[in-house]
Point group: D2
Chain length 436, copies 4
């Protein structure tokens, strides 16, 4: 089904000098590393696991593996590699996610009906694209390379986002199986007490937020601009499972006064009774995780809660959620370190640092009270890539900080993640804030 | 069904002196005036018209008439008028809209199934409540009167909101009838050209917005707080039907690049092809209005568009929607005058003023790009009335300025109306803005 | 809205002789009587009650009143009364129920959105049609009269069917109102014990069923044809509320082995827990009826059960439902007498006769085990009236005998009523049978 | 996951003598043959193909493979093989289809979410069951063997039914894939003209239908009983694609007068425009089949039509569908031979016989006009197996004769297949009939 990519068919200019070669080699090495990391995530999954879509929000592993390759094919190879032939002319239809400008595409909710190409054929497709990309990077003249490098960087960041999605979606799929298969079986070590909760003071004033300068960022992180903040205080760590149990015990899911109306409607419809993937067995709460079904760790951050639940919890606690600007002002300057995908834990861990605020990066995405809207002066990129972020700027809320399924190096203080307020299958938790 | 209110059953202290009497008389007069205005809206409707609910977002006229009375009964009469007996114990169930703290209530979508109490019985109920309220106001001692006055003011503002809703809902109902009955039949006089569109410059800086000081406001209008604005420009008038026709002619409803993803999904589902109530007859667009089916007036403001459509139009025009802070900064200081309900037009009219910006108040509610969220430091009122505004602060967008169905005196510069971005049955239009 | 019918505009031939005049007078009298009976049913309903549609299966009273008039207008007046002008050209769209051949029509589920024409205007429409029909009948020459008489008879039988529907639909509407208004308030007198249940033997053999000869019948009652029956036994009376209580007490709604799979799926979905309109108050079952909410009469026939429930009950009782042929063989020869609409009870009554089998006519429609299909050799009538019955011959079940809401004279042994097996808003009950 | 079946753990009596051994060997051979045939159907499918459920009516191949094994485990091994241990205690939940008496089960619509057990683990499960069944059959004493043999026969017939379902469901799945993968790729040879259509006369009278005597049958085929038939005529072959094209060309899908109301509602909703799996490419109809996308063969029987379409076609043709009794009377005495699964064609073929009526067995299941109801005196088997057929006796229609996906030996003249009238994913076609 996939036509093999024939490297000799493409014109291949030689790079001009040694230092340029180093840059290219580094670029190729990074490219191959990210591609390899994606494939490693699927290594222990059976073809059956990689094919099924558990709900419309999710996609099959196999689809993710192919889609990120289609992205490189569409935005790098087809326009920039002379002589490149697409692996399969039908793949643009099957593996375009939502880019209207890139043509018609298969319905999102029906991705799980596509058993062909098989997992093995998708692996061929990945190889085809990886090889061609290597050729493109190795063979581009200097000027071209400089022009392509940012696009490659978008492609790699895009692929990293889908690494996280693969894990979110597999967890959702396995949770739908009464056998409760574990992505990576393991019994969680229970930790000691959670660190005491403190609130850290931040002054008010005019601050700049948003991305500027060196380094990769998405278009929605800019333009950098001034915001006016009032003095505020931010919790020293994320809200824990233990604290969430107290919320439940205090009737948190039974008191309408704590909830936004849209959230309460979902509670009454039976949608929320506890965080997603929590199960009660013989009176004890357990959580289904990528490590399988495990007892709750009371000291670990609560995860898989909706915005509505996070907001209700904060109201119950007499606090509020931070704005995204407050969060960013507090986070910048901190090292972007924490419990990311690379730690291998695959679950949020109790705060274990004396550097406060803890857990700003990694562990759980933190719901903010900020709707996801454009920064002042925002302009989406021209062309299909302009659809990456901008067209989703309605009815969603911003989350910050990255999580235990986010690849190292993908997070930063200005990064704006976003989900609808009812969604819970992301590794979403919360950190409290209050007015100073 | 309704027990008549017996004024002699209630203790009735005498007001102490003359000036107090004037205040009370004024309060009673205003109370009776608003009540009468509501009833006048229903005067030309048949009992049949007042009973039906055309969609879950709408309510029957009869329900509105009763619900606003229940509001006075629940928040004023029961707690504050000694000896008061409710007209009918079942009405609290039938006519509570969404106040969880006020007890269980009839399902919103099923309001149209309630044929009893009849229109005549609801009129009895209104009289019962009006009489008792008059007694309460006339008879309260000075201290009590001072305490009740703000609650009465909320009740009257609440009733005014429902006056607008009665008109919105009747228009929606009549639009569902192939006979296209007119609420108030009339042939629209076609106007001359729309005024030329200009953009007015506003400087940036730190501004205070939100309500403070004298006069009624809802809790969501405060606290007054500082915002940081960048220089901006605001259109001199609302977008017109003529401009919207140009948008349609230019493929506005066929170009995904103009639309937010959620809006485009609705376009593809066939939900939006033109503003709500527009109909094409033999190639010409007509609009169904409270005056019946009429040719479009190209100079009049476009109305009954969703946020998604307003946003797409602005993108098409190379502009953007204003933020609610920009709008408020531009509006304050202007006289709160315009084409309100009291003009009797019952439809938006072409701008007819030399004072710019025109049409800031009245004609159409103007979509802003601001999600409806709490102002910094916002706290809802305690008790059931705290549910009035706060619990709706998710997934909705702010509209400003009032419309041709808003009663005079109900609008102000700080007033925050809000609807979901897909909704169109309000008298919603737009005004363009841009960065300076 | 309705143009008055001007009798002088139509050519009016004189009837030829006296005996013909008698026939015509009788026809006109019968016509006026049926029309008047329909109107009497609506007499105590408010305009509000007559306008609302409680579910898609139901229609507003007002719609029924107009639709049966449209039937006469369409099938009698327009084609046969020279010079007749329709009352309102839009009514054909609004009041055609399902006759594809008669042109496009308003969506069934949206009948309740049509507040205009009002109840008063529909009364005008009825008068317009009644007057014109009287003219038509009085003025037709003999040959025409003979040709029209069967059509008039269809129109009157059609109107009688809608009399029953008016009552079914009003009961459904009032049941949706928490105030539980009674169509005709009244406290039921509780009766003594139900008559003992006996089974009457019928021999097998070849029998003719279906209508033939004199008297009105619908096309679906023919052709008369032979059927082969095995000996069977039929219960002496309908199943009672008391027997149904025993079924419930014995876990009838909790035992899947008693149910057809489609029925059990509805039980599990929470759709059936007891007959429709039964309510449990403080542990006691009550039934909402046209007389209001009343205690159950254990001796009265159970009513408002689905086919699935009737079938499950029969299985629980170790019996079965009769086939329609068995029922008809048992019923023919019996007087068509019983508790019909004209008794005024408006509810099924305990069997009170020594003539067995009792309650074959009136009280409740009896579910048979026979799917509603065409008799051998069945051909629908040509033209739009051919849509009356034939096109519904799939997925429905036959019921026999008439009920307490069926007008006297409308029932007969060959009459085939039909509903979907899940439906319950008809006055549907059951009688047991078994193999001999 | 599957515990291997250890044959030595079970008591294993020796069969007593030689002739008994032959019977057992034959039984075991037949058992192994059917099991092998099932597995052969899945041989060319990838694990991905075997896992996905394309719609709620369908099941994954993997599920079918496991479910038929669960059937043997539940009804043969657990009750009758001493010491037998189930392969996996969770499988009863996952692989019970609809037997309420056999305990709770996984929701039908969610069968496609179960990626574990994998295809390989299901193969282990099948081996486990096959081995244990072989032991049971080989080791049972004579009396036990005689008692078990009918249950084994049910199990094998059940497995054969699922062989057909595997093919129906895979076709449906592959049809949802824009790549249109072929189950068994192949270009259809176009045939000559269809044989001329003739009508064969059958006399009326009293006939016995239903199964009796030797040989396997399902409970719903009995009791054998007398029916009264009028003289009728039956078409000499099935309706062809060519005839269906004429129906389409004559507006068959646009004329409401041809349709039952329930069917027409689906036409208007866009559900039916041509038989399922027909696609129009550049004006020409093609059909997606197990051999891939192929031009229509005008001489081959039309397949994948609903009852509503079959009924409309018959009305258009001025004929009718046969009753199931007519069909059975015509079919008995004919050899049960035709184009079954074993022919390898995997599609209906043009009639190619001079023996009339042709195609009574094989090619396509033929819709009859008979609702699927119990024969007089029918009693379902006791216990869970009583749920096999009886509880589905509502709202479905009977089809007769078997199809190109039915295994040889599974069809017979008394066999009653049944589907809902709207369903089309079975290999369903039709044969015309008329009154003589
Ligand atoms: Fe993507
Ligand atoms: Fe209200
Ligand atoms: Fe009718
Ligand atoms: Fe099965």
């Amino acid at each position: 089904m996939n036509k093999p990519w024939n490297p000799h068919a493409a014109a291949r200019p030689s790079p001009s000098d040694a230092s340029d070669t180093d840059v290219r080699d580094a670029a190729i090495a990074r490219f191959l590393k990210v591609r390899g990391q994606t494939e490693a995530l699927a290594r222990d999954l059976h073809p059956e696991d990689q094919t099924v879509q558990s709900m419309p929000d999710c996609s099959p592993t196999k689809w993710h593996l192919a889609h990120v390759s289609w992205f490189f094919e569409t935005f790098l190879l087809v326009p920039h590699l002379p002589g490149y032939e697409v692996a399969n002319a039908d793949f643009a239809f099957l593996f375009n996610s939502y880019y209207e400008a890139a043509g018609p595409r298969h319905a999102r909710f029906a991705r799980g009906l596509i058993t062909r190409p098989t997992v093995a054929e998708v692996a061929d497709y990945r190889r085809h694209v990886t090889d061609a990309m290597t050729d493109l990077l190795a063979g581009a003249d200097e000027e071209t390379f400089a022009r392509l490098a940012p696009l490659v960087e978008i492609g790699l960041n895009h692929e990293q986002q889908h690494q996280e999605l693969i894990l979110m979606d597999i967890l959702n799929l396995f949770a739908a199986n009464p056998l409760r298969p574990a992505y990576r079986p393991g019994r969680l070590a229970m930790t000691a007490e959670a660190r005491p909760l403190a609130f850290i003071d931040y002054p008010g004033g005019i601050f700049e937020i948003g991305h500027a300068g060196e380094g990769f960022s998405y278009d929605n992180e800019g333009p950098r601009h001034e915001v006016l903040l009032r003095p505020f205080r931010l919790a020293s760590r994320a809200v824990t499972n233990g604290e969430w149990l107290a919320f439940i015990a205090d009737g948190g899911y039974r008191r309408p006064d704590l909830w936004l109306a849209d959230g309460w409607a979902r509670v009454k419809a039976g949608e929320y009774e506890a965080p997603l993937y929590w199960e009660r067995h013989d009176g004890d709460w357990q959580a289904f995780t990528l490590n399988g079904l495990n007892p709750l760790d009371p000291a670990a951050p609560v995860v898989h809660v909706s915005y509505y639940e996070a907001d209700a919890f904060a109201r119950w606690a007499g606090k509020r959620l931070p704005t995204e600007a407050e969060w960013e002002v507090a986070a910048r300057g901190l090292p972007v370190a924490g419990n990311f995908l690379d730690s291998g834990a695959l679950r949020p861990l109790p705060a274990a640092t004396d550097d406060l605020p803890a857990q700003m990066f990694g562990d759980v995405w933190e719901w903010t009270q900020s709707p996801y809207v454009a920064y002042p002066g925002y302009r989406p990129a021209p062309g299909a890539l302009g659809e990456y972020n901008g067209k989703f700027m309605s009815s969603q809320m911003v989350l910050r900080g990255g999580c235990c399924a986010t690849p190292e190096g993908h997070a930063r203080a200005t990064y704006r993640n976003f989900f609808y307020p009812h969604q819970r299958w992301a590794f979403s938790g919360l950190r409290l804030a209050e007015d100073a």
